[in-house]
Amino acid sequence: MFGFEPNEEQKMLVDSVQRYALNDLRAAAHDADEAGELPPALVKKGWELGVLQASIPEAYGGFGDRSAVTGVLAAEELGYGDLTAGLAVMAPAAYAIPILVAGTEEQKKSLLPPVVEGDWKPYVSAFVEPNLDFSAADMRTTAVRKNGSYVLNGVKTLVPHAANAAGLLVYAALDGKTQAFVVPPKSAGLKIGDREAWCGLNALPTHKLTLEGVTVPADARLGGDAGHDPQPLIAATQVAAAALAIGLAKAAYEYSLAYAKDRTVFGVPIAQKQSLAFMLAEMATDIEAIRLLVWEAAWLLDEGKDAAHAAQMAILGASDTAMMVTDRAVQLLGGHGYIREHPVERWMRNGRGVPNFPGMAMV
């Protein structure tokens, strides 16, 4: 049975996240971008919507079961509000969901409750690496077994809140296979670089993380000695980033559509020009089509089916869509699109980074 409509529970969640996105994230995004920081109360409020908490069973401190489909519905709304803040709110998910999915019972019991009980805390993951052909399935950071421990070496980038992380999940290649390790933030050999500066994401502090012989015990590896299949984790973070990107695209599409209807030249709304109206038609269609790719990949994850290919299609398609749509949104605003008073240039800057964001959030 095909179905293209969220269920009642999902609709309620989407409604509440959307309200937060529109009332809180949108209102704060410009100043946060200029100031280079998100108001902590803003992130706290997003956290209290309970998107992650509802994905973690009661046994581990949460109050629900994980659904990647529900996750992408929520993520789209966060991206619709502000992708930067969305990544901040969802950062702990990039730490907790892998533990939930791939951790041993003991790891789940010990590691999850501190994340989901209480306020938002910077539990984050270190995933992306600073090379242009970074591949999630073929990382340069390595893990080597040594005397019953694992020794990690390598460089990570785009690690949010690394300077004050409460917990760190680090991905590394163990015998060529990507595996995740829980690394205490104060580990010896772990160097936190200066805050990074990007084209976008200005309000989110990220850092380079250098691992020089960082040693963690055997039980720091997700799944213990047996380890875990990295593919479902890679897929889950790809669809999370894809959903955020679709939300961002939708925001830019809606804003530029409203602008084009409102803005008149020679007394006629510019939306009445075929060239601009057709742009909008293509933007709307792309968003609609690629959103369904994202949903399908999430659904495959929930069904326990192989989602690797679908998730890659989703992130590639959503990245392209975010980049195309935000560029056109700027274009639709003309000179006004270039001015930071309007959000479209920020959305374009944030959107350009989407291909790099998998690893920073998870559903």
């Binding site: 269920n7 109206a277 293509e282 790719l293 679908a310």
Partner: protein
């Protein structure tokens, strides 16, 4: 609920149509491309038999389709998937061969119009013939010589009431399957005509004109770039007299109001996804064959690597996969909405527009990527490229569909956006 599980009924139809495509269509696809206007009777007869064996209702969904044998217990109604099955069938048959698919005697665009807007009596009267002894084709006639593309609002063919009759006068061009519906078989065309030329679009309505009706003649067959097994004809209506209740829809449609016009236009919400699905079949056939030819020629396609590590060919194929799947899902959503009786006008146009773009892009790229192999008539790739292009032209060009989508999302009418 959000789910991407293909229903069993649909899956079974796909299996069957894929067998037909593989065994009955692919082997003769090149022949009928080389022999334009030759009627593929073997295929038509086979499909007719198959259709009768499956109950004879044709492919077109209709809750009012001819009843099963008397006394048989009515089946317990599951979720409605008729339009989903139809789209999957159109896709699978077009994967076999899009030109032959257009020769299927199972109810195509004309039947879709009847199913979407006809009264129960009309559905019975016109759709029953698909279960008759002989195969029957149908079609839809919209475009006229003066108009650039399918523009329902610009119809000049007139329908004048004369007692219980309607008298049609005018000329239609680019009628897919006109010859097969009117000459080769005892089928019918749905012909758009105005009941009040002074009323503009508000007067335009669909009428059923049956084979053998005096005053209705097929005057020309086009020589085309592709889909050559399917004829494209001109139809002249000269004092063509039909029962006036061949006007599709409830009596209200006779009122010369925009509402009546809009009701009649609902036919496109059903037909566009069918055209889009057919385009997807060509696109999928092309992508699969491209991959096979690449493999045969020693080109390996790796998966699970980022774009930055892909070859140009890998990247093109990955893009094709994204386009194909996302567009198919969009079309599926639009037919799911039909089945769920949700308004799907926007989604139907989005699916048609994107399908036209995507099938053209995929087939053109495939010709290019395969070099001399893509350009040669030794393979079907070049044929599919030629077949594909019609999907961006007929049943509303890409531009017309953009116009429809843009008006919808902007809340504009013809006055604001022309």
């Amino acid at each position: 609920m959000i789910s991407f599980e293909i229903p069993d009924k649909v899956r079974n139809a796909v299996t069957l149509m894929t067998m037909v495509g593989e065994n009955m269509m692919r082997p003769v696809a090149r022949y009928f491309d080389d022999h334009e206007h030759e009627v593929p009777w073997d295929y038509i007869n086979m499909m007719h038999d198959a259709n009768k064996q499956m109950g004879g209702g044709g492919f077109v969904p209709s809750t009012d389709k001819p009843k099963k044998a008397e006394g048989e217990a009515p089946k317990k109604e599951g979720p409605r998937v008729a339009y989903q099955r139809l789209a999957y069938s159109a896709e699978a048959l077009s994967w076999g061969d899009a030109a032959l698919y257009l020769c299927s005697p199972v109810g195509l665009l004309g039947a879709a119009a009847v199913a979407a807007t006809g009264t129960p009596e009309q559905k019975q009267r016109f759709l029953a013939r698909f279960a008759g002894d002989k195969p029957v084709l149908d079609g839809m006639a919209l475009t006229e010589p003066h108009a650039g593309s399918a523009m329902p609002a610009d119809v000049r063919t007139t329908a004048v009431r004369d007692g219980d009759s309607g008298v049609l006068n005018g000329e239609k061009i680019f009628v897919t399957g006109a010859h097969k519906a009117l000459i080769d078989t005892q089928g019918f065309l749905v012909i758009w005509a105005t009941i009040d030329a002074s009323a503009g679009r508000a007067g335009v309505r669909p009428f059923v004109v049956e084979a053998g009706t005096p005053g209705c003649t097929v005057t020309k067959l086009e020589h085309k770039l592709g889909i050559r097994a399917s004829d494209t004809g001109s139809v002249v209506l000269q004092d063509c007299r039909i029962p006036f209740d061949n006007i599709l829809g409830s009596p209200e449609v006779e009122k010369k109001t925009t509402e009546g016009f809009k009701g009649a236009m609902a036919t496109f919400d059903a037909s566009r996804p069918m055209v889009a699905a057919s385009a997807m079949g060509i696109a999928r056939a092309t992508l699969e064959t491209l991959k096979e030819l690449l493999a045969q020629n020693g080109v390996t396609l790796r998966t699970g690597i980022p774009r930055s590590r892909m070859t140009n060919i890998e990247r093109e194929v990955a893009d094709m996969e994204i386009q194909l799947r996302s567009t198919w899902l969009l079309i599926l959503k639009s037919v799911w909405m039909m089945d769920e009786k949700k308004p799907n006008n926007l989604e139907a146009s989005m699916g048609k527009m994107r399908a036209g773009d995507v099938v053209v892009r995929i087939t053109q790229k495939a010709v290019e990527l395969l070099g001399p192999l893509g350009y040669s008539r030794e393979h079907l790739i070049e044929k599919w490229f030629r077949d594909a292009k019609v999907n961006d032209l007929y049943e509303g060009t890409g531009q017309i569909n953009r116009l429809i989508i843009a008006r919808r999302i902007l809340g504009y009418g013809r006055r604001e956006l022309a």
